[in-house]
């Protein structure tokens, strides 16, 4: 009934607020523009001149730089949405994207939330609830407890039943927070205390549950689209096994470890999982793929994901457009047989971080920024030259995505694009990605979620590169010195070699 009502009352939106910043805000604004929808934005104090604000038709300030005072403020965003007279809000990813309270606040303000229904968000947000839901729907889950653990006796009993090694996980969240792997039974209780305190600090909910630890799994996730009329399709998998501290570093599709038969089985299970949760809009069902070929439900990401362009490139579908259409109440208009995948796509997340300093975020101004281009290369970014990478937000500079006929050519193209990418002013993860492209295990696709942390070491710099950098630095300073000494000592009588006038002229022409 709700679905029919939506269909009868809504045409495509005229105006949509993007409640986010950075590359994803830019991405959503572009989709709106292509659909003839007027995109509008909100911004924090430090983002007043940001790219997403400049690209929007209108924008309102929502507070100070810290996200808790701006991009996480439901009240201010709803006020801005009302003032800007929007019909819908796209939350992007991160910030409020998986916050059921925000989705409910939108509904209360008679604004469409472009995302899943709040009930599905709540059910899927609690891991133990999601596991129960999935088990009941016949979706394979990792053996473990279906209820949060409270006492050491329960913990011990559950661990003995499941068998070591075990993983302790936070009920309220993901992203590796509150996660502890326990190999030795003697460490169980200490790990439980750590996991509980970390989960409490991160999510305001200290409860944890236990799963059997899968040895050397791959992370394989399936993108789904579900409309409000009961149609649901899967678009294929993304392999995100190359991770560091449970954060994805590189995502690719198709997965080098997934056969067509496995792909279809995972796709069907993903659709079943979405339907069991009453899910609509775009979503991702994450699985752990064990070396024996069994796969297990991990969680549903109830939002558009960072790595969605990988799926867009292989399917040719614009996922943001699909999200907006679904939120308008339109039926998908195609079924599973219409979904085709072509070639191979891979994404490298270019972060402002310093590998040599333990991967700390690297902040500063982008003094130089020259992204790559050419066939099959896509750069999704929210910055331009002179943008500031601040301490307040996620330090992602850009997503570099390439599409090619097959995996080998895709990785060659990525290596080429990484080499073209020039960024000056902050340290970036480009050296890591260039290193990845050279690793035999990456080339052959033989990786698991722990591979990067086991194998990574700071690469020895290329001597030719170092020499070129040294020459450039020496020439630059030599030219500067030549021009300053000429100003200070007009006759060139500085006790050293005289500097000829042509040289200064040449320097000025070439360098100043």
């Amino acid at each position: 009934v709700e679905a029919i009502a939506v269909r009868l009352t809504s045409q495509v939106f005229k105006r949509v607020l993007v409640a986010n910043r950075g590359e994803i805000a830019v991405r959503v604004i572009r989709a709106c523009r292509e659909m003839g929808i007027s995109p509008v934005a909100v911004f924090s104090d430090v983002d007043a001149q940001a790219l997403h604000v400049r690209m929007a038709d209108a924008a309102l300030p929502i507070g100070a730089a810290p996200a808790t005072e701006s991009y996480l403020r439901i009240d201010k965003i709803i006020d801005a949405a009302r003032a800007l007279e929007v019909e819908a809000i796209h939350p992007g990813y991160g910030f409020l994207a998986e916050n059921a309270e925000f989705a409910e606040a939108c509904a209360a303000a008679d604004i469409t939330f472009i995302g899943p229904p709040p009930k599905a968000m709540r059910d899927l947000g609690l891991k133990t609830e999601a596991r129960k839901l999935m088990q009941a729907a016949g979706v394979p889950v990792v053996p473990g407890t279906l209820e949060p653990l409270t006492t050491p006796e329960e913990l011990r009993k559950a661990a003995d039943e499941v068998g070591f090694p075990v993983a302790l996980k936070a009920v309220a969240g993901g992203g590796g927070k509150g996660l502890r792997m326990v190999h030795d039974p003697a460490n169980l209780e200490a790990a439980f205390r750590q996991a509980t305190s970390e989960a409490g600090a991160a999510f305001g909910d200290a409860s944890v549950y236990l799963e059997r630890a899968i040895d050397r799994p791959r992370h394989v996730e399936v993108q789904i689209l579900a409309d409000t009329h009961g149609n649901c399709v899967w678009l294929g998998e993304r392999d995100c096994s190359i991770q560091r501290r449970h954060q994805k570093v590189l995502e690719e599709s198709p997965s080098p470890a997934v056969s067509q038969d496995l792909r279809e089985r995972m796709g069907e299970v993903a659709v079943r999982a979405a339907q069991a949760a009453g899910y609509t809009n775009a979503g991702t069902v994450e699985f752990l793929l064990a070396p024996d070929g069994n796969f297990y439900f991990l969680e549903v990401n109830a939002r558009l994901q960072v790595e969605h362009p990988v799926t867009e490139e292989v399917t040719g579908l614009d996922l943001v457009r699909q999200q907006i259409r679904i939120a308008c109440g339109e039926p998908l208009g195609y079924d599973q047989s219409a979904i085709q995948r072509h070639g191979y796509a891979v994404e490298c997340r270019i972060y402002a971080e310093d590998a040599a300093a333990g991967w700390l975020p690297s902040t500063g101004r982008l003094v130089g920024y020259r992204p790559p281009g050419g066939p099959g290369v896509r750069v999704d970014s929210g910055v331009e030259e002179n943008a500031e990478i601040s301490v307040y937000y996620d330090p992602m500079i850009a997503k570099l995505i390439v599409h090619a006929a097959d995996r080998q050519r895709g990785l060659e193209r990525m290596a080429r694009a990484l080499r073209e990418f020039l960024i000056l002013g902050v340290h970036t993860s480009i050296p890591l990605h260039r290193w990845l492209m050279e690793q035999p295990a990456v080339r052959s696709g033989d990786v698991d979620t722990g591979w990067l942390e086991r194998e990574w070491s700071l690469p020895e710099p290329d001597l030719f590169d170092l020499e070129q950098a040294a020459i450039a630095a020496a020439l630059l300073l030599d030219a500067r010195r030549a021009s300053t000494s000429a100003t200070a000592v007009p006759n060139g009588v500085d006790g050293g070699a005289p500097r000829s006038a042509w040289r200064l002229a040449g320097r000025r022409a070439g360098l100043s």
């Binding site: 960024i423 902050v426 630095a473 020496a474 630059l476």
Partner: protein, 170 residues
Amino acid sequence: VPTYLVTLDERTLRVQVRTALDGTYVRVDEGPEVRADLRSLHGALHSLTTGDARIEVMAQPREQGQVRIALRGLEYTAEVVDEAHARLASVAGARVGSHAHLELKAPMPGLLVRMLCKVGDEVQPNQPLAVLQAMKMENELSLSRGGKVTSVKVEQGKTVEQGQVLVVVE
């Protein structure tokens, strides 16, 4: 011939820059002398030609002989000193370049919650030396090369500025 000691990525290269009527020539360490040309294109973007090789470089001079350089997706901060000055400084007892001298600097402002090393410790590459709380996270700070801790500059529990030296390792 002006000669520069360029330290980048913990290595020092000696670059001679000779200006002749037909252009500028450079020589790195004991290598051959080749013609070199650095052209400013726009902003920080430069085109560098050395001998037959061409490469795009982003470069920006900073204070005190530092140059930020990006090429082929890599970024360095090069410290450039005139060899003649370096020799004088060396006679006066100061260090030459920063060859074996490593500084652990705070990469961002924050609270130094733990100092994990003390003067005299032999530390391994990538060994955590201090824990800095910033952006609501505890970040372990380490250096990519090991050595002996010669100085600990900040006490535990103090707030530090971005770029402040915390530990010196030689």
